[in-house]
């Protein structure tokens, strides 16, 4: 019997294959699962100040306004602005939807998976 030294895999082949698998895994992860779930992003004067996942109850507030996630939807529950348009906007849960409070310079936007980029 002839001795057989396996040459199919050498150390660099193994490294290459492992790295390839990792890259494939990462690609699939980012391509298919861009978001773990939908969430509400809260911006104050153009800066993101909080991200609230919609799958659990939560809230964010400052001295002027209170934003609450409840039952998978986000709404403004308290505000000291004169017109209260943000509060009247109701609860939102669709990607692309937003609630804007101009006097307090607060914007709440839904991000994540959805059929539309924005809702006008």
């Amino acid at each position: 019997m002839r001795s057989y030294k396996p040459t199919l895999f050498r150390i660099w082949d193994v490294v290459l294959i492992v790295l390839l698998l990792v890259l494939v895994g990462l690609t699939v992860y980012f391509a298919l699962a861009p978001s773990a779930g939908e969430s509400a992003e809260i911006y104050l004067r153009g800066e993101k100040v909080a991200t609230l996942p919609l799958h659990k109850n939560g809230e964010w507030s400052n001295e002027h306004i209170k934003v609450v996630v409840s039952d998978g939807k986000v709404s403004v529950t308290e505000t000291d602005c004169p017109d209260k348009l943000c509060q009247k906007s109701g609860a939102i849960d669709q990607k692309g939807a937003s609630i804007v409070c101009l006097p307090n310079q607060v914007v709440v936007k839904i991000t994540g998976k959805g059929e539309v980029e924005v809702i006008v």
Binding site: K88, S89, G90, G96, A97, K109, V116, I119
Partner: protein
């Protein structure tokens, strides 16, 4: 040895491909012209400052809430006083005059006296408003006609006939600003972009699905969607944006200068798609005033696309393919 080198080269190539696949998308957020803006763009660099500066400059030129703007100076001027325009202001006003004429004043930039009389000017509190008396409406209607103003386009000068006449491009200037933002992104070499300014949206380098709000529902879900293509801008006007109720009747903010009252057409929401933002914005307002029959004719005359929603929840499309989501709406 060769094999090892080859492996490493291959690996590096793969890494480059992998990271090149995830674009460097940036987003600029802020407030301008009484609205929030969100500009997402693919670019190897930061254009947030340029975008903020652009919107600030449009606002400082055309907002009636900025005292030094050309419109504030014109509105504060006496009858017959000559206001000199920059070449850009001259072109924007020229286009606004042309749009008022094209829409038979359904889009009327001179409507500010009527808007104020009805109480639809900022801060939009809409608490306890009472519709004005007929005689006051008649007076304000005369003041709100475009013929109160004369634009001497060749001389870059504008004048007005009455002290109290006032111009307000609020219904269209966001569209203009979105168009300018798309131009900025294009000039800088951004490959893709989506510009949002208070509900007026522009697309660059790609197509984007856009949802249109169900006009009478409050949950902000959308009634139908359509695709906004590269270089297009869409604007939506609806009678649901600002309104008040008095003795059981609903009064909304889209006023018709031809009657002096809120538009009472069969269209409650109009989304218009055009290559030019000022046109999209002006026609969106005009079509809500004009109604389905005249609105569709106008869009066809100017080769524009749009989707009109009627009181009976019918969606009338002109050159636009829409997909219904809320099945209480029906395409006709």
């Amino acid at each position: 040895m060769m094999k090892k080198a080859l492996s490493i080269i291959l690996l590096l190539a793969l890494l480059v491909v992998f990271f090149a696949c995830s674009p460097a998308e940036r987003t600029a957020y802020g407030f301008s012209m009484g609205s929030d803006y969100k500009v997402s763009y693919d670019f190897n660099g930061d254009l947030d400052k340029e975008i903020a500066d652009l919107f600030a400059s449009v606002e400082s030129s055309y907002s009636v809430r900025v005292d030094s703007s050309v419109l504030s100076r014109l509105n504060a001027a006496k009858a017959g006083e000559m206001i000199t325009l920059t070449s850009e202001e001259n072109e924007v006003l020229y286009q606004a005059f042309a749009l008022a004429s094209a829409t038979r004043s359904a889009f009327d930039p001179a409507i500010l006296p009527l808007v104020k009389l009805w109480g639809f000017d900022p801060p939009y509190e809409m608490n306890g408003e009472v519709p004005p008396a007929d005689i006051a409406i008649l007076k304000a209607t005369i003041l709100s006609e475009m013929n109160q103003f004369t634009l001497y386009h060749d001389l870059s000068i504008i004048t007005k006939r009455s002290d109290d006449a006032a111009l307000d491009l609020g219904a269209a200037i966001k569209g203009y600003a979105v168009g300018r933002a798309l131009d900025l992104l294009r000039e800088k070499g951004a490959t893709k972009g989506l510009v949002w300014l208070g509900g007026t949206v522009g697309a660059l380098g790609d197509s984007y699905p856009i949802g249109v709000t169900a006009p009478r529902e409050s949950n902000q879900d959308y009634a139908f969607r359509f695709t906004l293509s590269d270089g297009e801008i869409c604007a939506t006007s609806g009678d649901y944006e600002r309104y008040y109720e008095y003795e059981g009747k609903r009064y909304h903010h889209i006023l018709d200068v031809n009657t002096g009252y809120p538009a009472s057409s069969d269209v409650i929401s109009a989304t218009i798609v055009a290559k030019d933002g000022l046109i999209a914005d002006a026609f969106a307002t005009a079509v809500v005033v004009l109604g389905v029959e005249k609105g569709v004719a106008l869009l066809e005359e100017y080769g524009l696309k749009g989707a009109l929603v009627t009181k009976e929840k019918k969606v009338v499309t002109v050159g636009l393919t829409v997909t219904i989501k809320d099945t209480t709406y029906e395409i006709v």
